[in-house]
C-alpha cells in the first residue's frame, strides 16, 4: 500500500517536472511538429526501444536471481571498498583520514537531507526521463538512439558487475558513523528501492552512472537544447553527491559509476557513427573463422 502510494507520488511529481521542462525547453514548435511526425519518429527508433525492453527484462531477471548467484561465485569487496574510501581524503587530512561518506555526512542538515533525498528519488528519475522526451521531439533520430544505447550499456555492464562483485554500502558497514539517511528520515522510499533493487548491488553506482550519462549526452545536443546542459549537470552532480550523502554508496562506487557513464556514452556514440549491421557481423565472424589456422577455405 505504501509502495503504491509512493509510486503514485513519484510518477505524479516526475510527470509534473517533465511537463514544465518540456514546455520551457522543447518549445511549442517542436511539440506541434512531433505530434505530426510521431509515427515516423517512432518507427526510426523502434528497434532500439525493443532493445531497451530486452535489456530491462534481462536486468529484472538478473536482479532477482543475481544475489544468490553472486553469493556463490562473486567476489566480496565491501572490506576493500571501505579501505580504499578511507584513503581517498588522504591529501586533505594526512594525519587522521576520515571515510568520505562520514566526512560528507558530518555536514548534514535537515534541509540538505531533504534536498538530496528529493534528488535521489525524483530528480534522478526526471533526469533520465527528460532526454527521452526531449530527443523524441527532435527531427533527427540520432540523439534518441544514442541515449537508448548508452542507457542499455549502463544497465548491462552494471548488472554484470553486480553479479561479479558483491558489496554492501557504507550504511551497512559504518553503521555507527554513517547513517542510511534516506531510509531513516524518509522511510517510505525504502518500499520502492527495496522493490527495484537489492542492497548488495552497490558497485558501481548505477545512480551515478545513469545520471552522468544523461549529463554527458546533454552536451551532444547543445545546439538544440543549450539550457538543458546546466540543468542536467547540476542535477547529475547532485545525484552523485546524494548517493554518498545518503550513505548508500561508497565514493569508489561513484568514481566507477562515472567511468561506466563515460564508457557507455562512447559506446552510444560509436554505435551511431558506425551502426552494426548483419553483414558486418557476418564479415567479422568469417574473418575470425578464417584466422583459425589449418581450416579449409
Amino acid at each position: 500500500m505504501t509502495l503504491l502510494l509512493v509510486l503514485g507520488q513519484l510518477i505524479g511529481v516526475v510527470l509534473l517536472l517533465l511537463a514544465t521542462t518540456t514546455a520551457l525547453l522543447v518549445g511549442r514548435d517542436r511539440i506541434i511538429e512531433t505530434r505530426r511526425a510521431y509515427r515516423e519518429r517512432f518507427a526510426s527508433v523502434a528497434p532500439y526501444v525493443g532493445l531497451l525492453g530486452v535489456v530491462l527484462v534481462a536486468n529484472k531477471i538478473a536482479r532477482d536471481i543475481g544475489p544468490d548467484i553472486s553469493w556463490l561465485v562473486g567476489v566480496r569487496i565491501t572490506g576493500w571498498l571501505e579501505r580504499i574510501d578511507g584513503l581517498l581524503l588522504w591529501p586533505l587530512f594526512p594525519e587522521e583520514t576520515p571515510q568520505i561518506v562520514v566526512w560528507i555526512q558530518s555536514m548534514a542538515t535537515p534541509e540538505l537531507t531533504a534536498y538530496f533525498s528529493f534528488v535521489y528519488v525524483y530528480g534522478y528519475v526526471f533526469l533520465l526521463a527528460f532526454p527521452l522526451v526531449a530527443y523524441f521531439a527532435l527531427p533527427r533520430p540520432e540523439p534518441l538512439r544514442r541515449t537508448i544505447v548508452a542507457y542499455g550499456t549502463n544497465y548491462l555492464l552494471g548488472v554484470l558487475c553486480y553479479i561479479v562483485f558483491i558489496a554492501y554500502g557504507p550504511r551497512n558497514l559504518l553503521a555507527e558513523q554513517a547513517e542510511g539517511l534516506l531510509f531513516s528520515q524518509y522511510t517510505q522510499y525504502q518500499f520502492v528501492t527495496d522493490a527495484v533493487n537489492h542492497e548488495t548491488n552497490v558497485f558501481p553506482s548505477l545512480h551515478t552512472s545513469m545520471a552522468v550519462t544523461a549529463a554527458l549526452l546533454a552536451w551532444t545536443t547543445r545546439d538544440e537544447y543549450p539550457l538543458w546542459i546546466p540543468i542536467a549537470a547540476a542535477l547529475a552532480a547532485s545525484v552523485v553527491v546524494s548517493t554518498m550523502y545518503l550513505g548508500i554508496h561508497w565514493a569508489t562506487d561513484a568514481i566507477f559509476g562515472i567511468v561506466l557513464a563515460w564508457f557507455s556514452v562512447r559506446v552510444g556514440t560509436r554505435f551511431e557513427e558506425t551502426p552494426p549491421t548483419l553483414d558486418g557481423a557476418k564479415h567479422r565472424l568469417s574473418a575470425a573463422l578464417d584466422a583459425i589456422p589449418g581450416r579449409p577455405r
Binding site: T78, Y168, N172, A175, E176, T187
Partner: protein
C-alpha cells in the same frame, strides 16, 4: 678472490633464503547493518582498534546464511562477530568447546578449539549435581576467559513494538519462543495476527536442522513439537524455566546405574494426517546423531542441538506410543535438555539421509540431503501448520485444528495455553528495515514485531501513542569468534591481546545505545562466576579508556606475546 666471492654469495644466500616479513592481515566476518546493526558496529570498533595496533583488517559483511555457512560449516574464517543463539544453559558450552566436535559442522566447536583439561570439566558438569555442578560451570568459564577461544562482548536486550487494538497480553519484547504465541489475547473479532520480521530466512528455508538459517529456531518451533517444552513463567522472569510435558504426555524417570525415562506420547497427528508414533521419536534421535543413518563412513550429526542429542544413549520402542530412553548422564536436569529437540516425521525425513549433491556447501560425501533441504512444506506436528510463503516477503501459518491443544489430549498443559484460541492464522511480513517495520506498525498494518528491533528506532516508537515499546533481557551474547585452526589465532596469547581491543562498556553505551549488558562470560545468573560478574571493568581489561585505545599499551601486549613490529606494522614471517 674466489674465497671472497664465495663468502659473499653465502651471505646473499643466507639472506635471500630467509622468508620476507609481511604485515599480518586478518578478515573479520560479520553481518551487514540491515541484518544485525550491533554485530557490524562491534566488528568495525574492533577493526579500528586492531588497525591502530598495526594489523591489517578487512571487514567482510555477509548475508546471515552465507556467514554461518562459512563459519559453522566450512570453517573458512579468521575472526567473526555475531550472536550466539543461547538458551542460557551451561551444557551449551560443552557443544561450543568440546574438542572431539572440532571437525563437525555446526554450532559444535566452530572455533576448532582443543584443550584436554577443558574437555574433562565439560564432561564433568554433565554428571555433577547441585552446587558442585555450579562450581564446575564457573571453572569452565574461568578457563574460557583465560584461553579466549571466543571473546564474549555483551548480552543485547530484545526490543519489540506492539499495538494493542486487536490483540493484547504480549510477552515482554514481543512474541519470541513458541509458547509466547498462545499467551496472547484477542481483543476484537480479528482472527489473523499480522507480525513483522526483520530476518527473512524463515521465508526461504524451514528446515529445523539447517543451522545457517536458524537462530533459536523459534519459528520452526511453531511447526515442530519437542517432547518437552521449557516454559518461563512470564510473571517470574528470573526463575528457571518449567519443563512442560508437550508431545510427551508423561515422563517417568528411573534412576539407577544408568538414568532412563519411560515416555508416553500424546495422541496427535502430523500435519499430513498420519499419527505421531514412538517410532518417529526413535527415528528422530537416531537421525539427529547421524543424518546418513549409517550409510557414510563417518556419522553426519545434526549441526544444531548436537549436544542435546548426545545426551541420549538409546531409544527402545515399547508400543505405538510408549518408549524408553537411556541417557549418557545421571543428572536429570541435564538429561531433560535432550527432550527439547524437534521430533521429525520418519516417513518424510528417512529419504533425506542420502548424500546431498547441490552447490553452496563443500560436499565431498560428508553432507546429507537433510542438512541442505529447504523443507518448504514443513510437515511437523506443531500447533501451527504451513500455508504458503514468498521468499524474502511473507509467510502464512494457520492453527492446526487436530493438535492436542485443541483435541482435549492436554493433561499437564497449563491453563493459559488452553484458553480460547487467540488467532486462527498468522501472517508474517518481512519489513525492509527496522525503520520500515515501525512505519508499518504506525500505519496500522501489523500488530507486532516478531524478532528484535534495533535501538535506533526507540525514539520513533515512544513518540507514538498507538504503538508501545517492549523489551526483555536475552541469553544471546555477542562474541568475537577465533578460528583456532589458523595461525596466529591458534595462540592463546594472541587471542588474549585481541580481546583487549574491545571496550565492552563503551560498546554497550554507544553501539547498543545502552540496550544491553556488558559481560566477559557467556552465562548469566547463578551460572556466572561471582569474580567475573560485570563490575564496569573486565578481568582482562581494555587497553585504553572510554573506548579510546592506548596504542602503546596494545602494541606492548602483542610484543609481550612474542609478536614483532616493523615500521609500525605487526609483521609475520611467510604467507599470512
Amino acid at each position: 678472490m674466489a674465497t671472497t666471492t664465495a663468502g659473499c654469495m653465502g651471505n646473499v644466500r643466507n639472506l635471500v633464503g630467509r622468508q620476507e616479513v609481511d604485515q599480518l592481515s586478518l578478515s573479520i566476518a560479520t553481518l551487514p547493518a540491515s541484518e544485525d546493526p550491533y554485530a557490524v558496529r562491534i566488528a568495525t570498533r574492533l577493526a579500528e582498534n586492531l588497525r591502530r595496533s598495526g594489523i591489517g583488517i578487512v571487514i567482510d559483511p555477509v548475508r546471515p546464511d552465507v556467514l554461518f555457512r562459512d563459519v559453522l560449516v566450512n570453517h573458512d574464517f579468521d575472526l567473526y562477530v555475531a550472536r550466539y543463539p543461547s538458551h542460557g544453559d551451561p551444557d551449551e558450552l560443552r557443544s561450543m568447546l568440546y574438542s572431539p566436535y572440532a571437525e563437525e559442522s555446526g554450532w559444535q566447536n566452530p572455533f576448532g578449539f582443543a584443550d584436554l583439561t577443558l574437555d574433562e570439566i565439560l564432561d564433568e558438569q554433565r554428571t555433577d549435581e547441585g552446587e558442585e555442578r555450579i562450581d564446575t560451570v564457573h571453572e569452565i568459564q574461568r578457563q574460557v576467559v583465560r584461553e579466549q577461544p571466543f571473546t564474549v562482548v555483551c548480552f543485547p536486550d530484545h526490543l519489540g513494538a506492539v499495538r494493542n487494538d486487536r490483540f493484547e497480553g504480549w510477552p515482554d519484547g514481543g512474541p519470541g519462543r513458541p509458547p509466547d504465541y498462545f499467551g496472547i489475547d484477542r481483543v476484537g473479532s480479528e482472527s489473523t495476527l499480522q507480525l513483522l520480521l526483520g530476518d527473512g530466512r524463515i521465508t526461504r528455508n524451514r528446515n529445523p536442522l539447517a543451522v545457517e538459517y536458524r537462530n533459536q529456531a523459534n519459528f520452526t518451533g511453531l511447526l515442530y513439537d519437542p517432547l518437552i517444552r521449557s516454559i518461563r513463567n512470564n510473571s517470574l522472569p528470573d526463575s528457571e524455566p518449567d519443563p512442560i510435558p508437550w508431545l510427551a504426555g508423561s515422563v517417568e524417570w528411573t534412576d539407577g546405574e544408568i538414568l532412563s525415562a519411560t515416555v508416553r506420547l500424546r495422541e496427535t497427528p502430523w500435519h499430513d494426517g498420519k499419527p505421531v508414533t514412538a517410532r518417529d521419536v526413535a527415528f528422530t534421535y537416531e537421525f539427529l546423531s547421524d543424518t546418513s543413518l549409517g550409510a557414510f563412513d563417518t556419522p553426519v550429526p545434526t549441526p544444531w542441538r548436537r549436544g542435546r542429542v548426545s545426551l541420549v544413549d538409546s531409544v527402545a520402542v515399547q508400543d505405538d506410543r510408549r518408549f524408553r530412553l537411556q541417557f549418557t548422564t545421571g543428572n536429570r536436569s541435564v538429561a531433560r535438555r535432550s527432550l527439547a529437540v524437534p521430533i521429525l516425521p520418519a516417513h518424510i525425513w528417512r529419504e533425506r539421509a542420502d548424500s546431498a549433491e547441490i552447490a553452496g556447501l563443500e560436499l565431498g560425501g560428508r553432507t546429507t540431503q537433510a542438512l541442505v533441504d529447504s523443507n518448504e512444506a514443513a510437515i511437523g506436528s506443531g500447533p501451527l501448520q504451513f500455508v504458503e510463503a514468498t521468499a524474502d516477503e511473507s509467510l502464512s501459518l494457520e492453527v492446526f485444528p487436530d493438535h492436542f491443544l485443541h483435541t482435549g489430549h492436554d493433561d499437564g498443559i497449563p491453563d493459559r495455553f488452553l484458553e480460547d484460541r487467540p488467532f486462527e492464522r498468522i501472517e508474517f511480513t518481512v519489513a525492509p528495515s527496522d525503520d520500515a517495520a515501525v512505519e508499518i506498525l504506525l500505519e496500522d498494518r501489523a500488530d507486532a514485531t516478531a524478532d528484535g528491533l534495533q535501538a535506533s528506532v526507540v525514539p520513533r516508537i515512544v513518540r507514538s501513542d498507538d504503538i508501545s515499546l517492549t523489551a526483555r533481557g536475552t541469553e544471546f551474547f555477542y562474541h568475537i569468534g577465533y578460528n583456532c585452526r589458523r595461525a596466529p589465532m591458534v595462540d592463546p596469547n594472541f587471542r588474549r591481546a585481541i580481546a583487549g581491543h574491545i571496550d565492552r562498556e563503551a560498546t554497550v553505551a554507544d553501539s547498543l545505545d545502552g540496550y544491553g549488558i556488558p559481560s566477559e562470560v557467556p552465562l548469566k545468573g547463578q551460572w556466572a562466576p561471582g569474580d567475573l560478574l560485570w563490575d564496569g571493568e573486565a578481568s582482562r581489561p581494555f587497553f585504553g579508556t572510554d573506548g579510546t585505545l592506548d596504542e602503546a599499551a596494545a602494541r606492548e601486549a602483542f610484543q609481550e606475546a612474542g609478536y614483532q613490529y616493523d615500521s609500525g606494522k605487526l609483521v609475520r614471517r611467510g604467507p599470512t
